[in-house]
C-alpha cells in the first residue's frame, strides 16, 4: 500500500483480556518498529524487526508483550492479560533503512488502546 496501515484504529479491552494489534508496513521496507505513546508523552521504543528477525526487543515493558513478523511484512503486537497501564497509542513505523544512517520513519496512524 501507499502508507503504513494499522488496525484496529481503536480498541477497548477489559482488564485481563488479550489483544492483538496489526501493522502492515510499506511494501519493501525491511525495517519495522513498534512504539508506545502514553498521553502527553513522546513515542517510546518497544521493538524492532529487520525483515522477519526481531533484532531488538529491549523496550517491551514486560513478558506480557510479544511481537512477531513471521514473513517479513505484516507484524502483530500482542499484549496478554492487559492492564490499565497498557492504555496508550501503539504506533508502527517502517523504514527503508536505519535512523542511524539518517533514514526517517513512516508512521502509521496508530491504534489507541483503552483498558477498562
Amino acid at each position: 500500500g501507499a502508507g503504513v496501515s494499522q488496525s484496529p484504529r481503536y480498541k477497548v479491552a477489559k482488564r485481563g483480556q488479550d489483544v492483538a494489534l496489526r501493522c502492515d508496513p510499506i511494501s519493501g521496507h525491511v525495517s519495522l518498529f513498534w512504539y508506545q505513546q502514553a498521553l502527553g508523552q513522546g513515542p517510546e521504543f518497544l521493538t524492532y524487526f529487520q525483515n522477519e528477525a526481531q533484532l531488538d526487543k529491549s523496550g517491551l515493558p514486560s513478558d506480557r508483550f510479544f511481537a512477531e513478523r513471521p514473513e517479513g511484512s505484516v507484524s502483530t503486537l500482542k499484549i496478554q492479560r492487559t492492564q490499565q497501564e497498557d492504555s496508550a497509542v501503539y504506533l508502527c513505523a517502517s523504514s527503508s533503512g536505519l535512523p542511524g544512517a539518517g533514514y526517517g520513519y513512516t508512521f502509521g496512524s496508530g491504534t489507541r488502546l483503552t483498558v477498562v
Binding site: 502508507g3 525495517s31 518498529f33 502527553g40 508523552q41 513522546g42 513515542p43 517510546e44 521504543f45 524492532y48 529487520q50 533484532l55 531488538d56 523496550g59 504506533l91 536505519l98 535512523p99 542511524g100 544512517a101 539518517g102 526517517g104 520513519y105 513512516t106 508512521f107 502509521g108 496512524s109 496508530g110
Partner: protein, 109 residues
C-alpha cells in the same frame, strides 16, 4: 542513556512572528537528530533531518554540539504550522529513535 528534552509543552505565537522550538539532548558522541511533526488528525511524519541540512516548509534546525541542542526555527510562522513537534535522536548504527515529550505550537492570526 540518550535523552531528549523539549522544555516547552506549549508555544503560542502570532502569525508572522519568528518561532524557535527548543530541543536539547544528552549524548557524548555524534548523534543523528530529527524533527517529527503531527498535524491535527494526521499521523506523525518526518519534518527534517540534521544529516541532510535541508529546509522544509521554511523550517531549519542546526545541530550545536557544544550546547547539545537542535532547535527548530522559522522566521515567519504561519497558521498552518500549528501542530505537535517532536525532536528525536539516534546513534549512528543504532535502530531506535529516542523522542522528546513534544511541543505544541499554536500560531494565532
Amino acid at each position: 542513556a540518550q535523552r531528549v528534552t523539549q522544555p516547552e509543552k506549549l508555544l503560542s505565537v502570532f502569525k508572522g512572528a519568528p518561532v524557535e522550538l527548543k530541543c536539547n539532548y544528552s549524548y557524548s558522541g555524534s548523534p543523528e537528530l530529527f524533527w517529527y511533526v503531527q498535524y491535527s488528525r494526521q499521523r506523525l511524519q518526518l519534518l527534517l533531518r540534521h544529516i541532510s541540512r535541508e529546509s522544509i516548509k521554511g523550517f531549519t534546525a542546526d545541530l550545536n554540539k557544544g550546547e547539545t541542542s537542535f532547535h527548530l526555527k522559522k522566521p515567519f510562522a504561519q497558521e498552518e504550522d500549528s501542530a505537535m513537534y517532536y525532536c528525536a535522536l539516534t546513534i549512528t548504527g543504532f535502530q531506535k529513535l529516542v523522542f522528546g515529550t513534544g511541543t505544541r505550537l499554536l500560531v494565532s492570526p
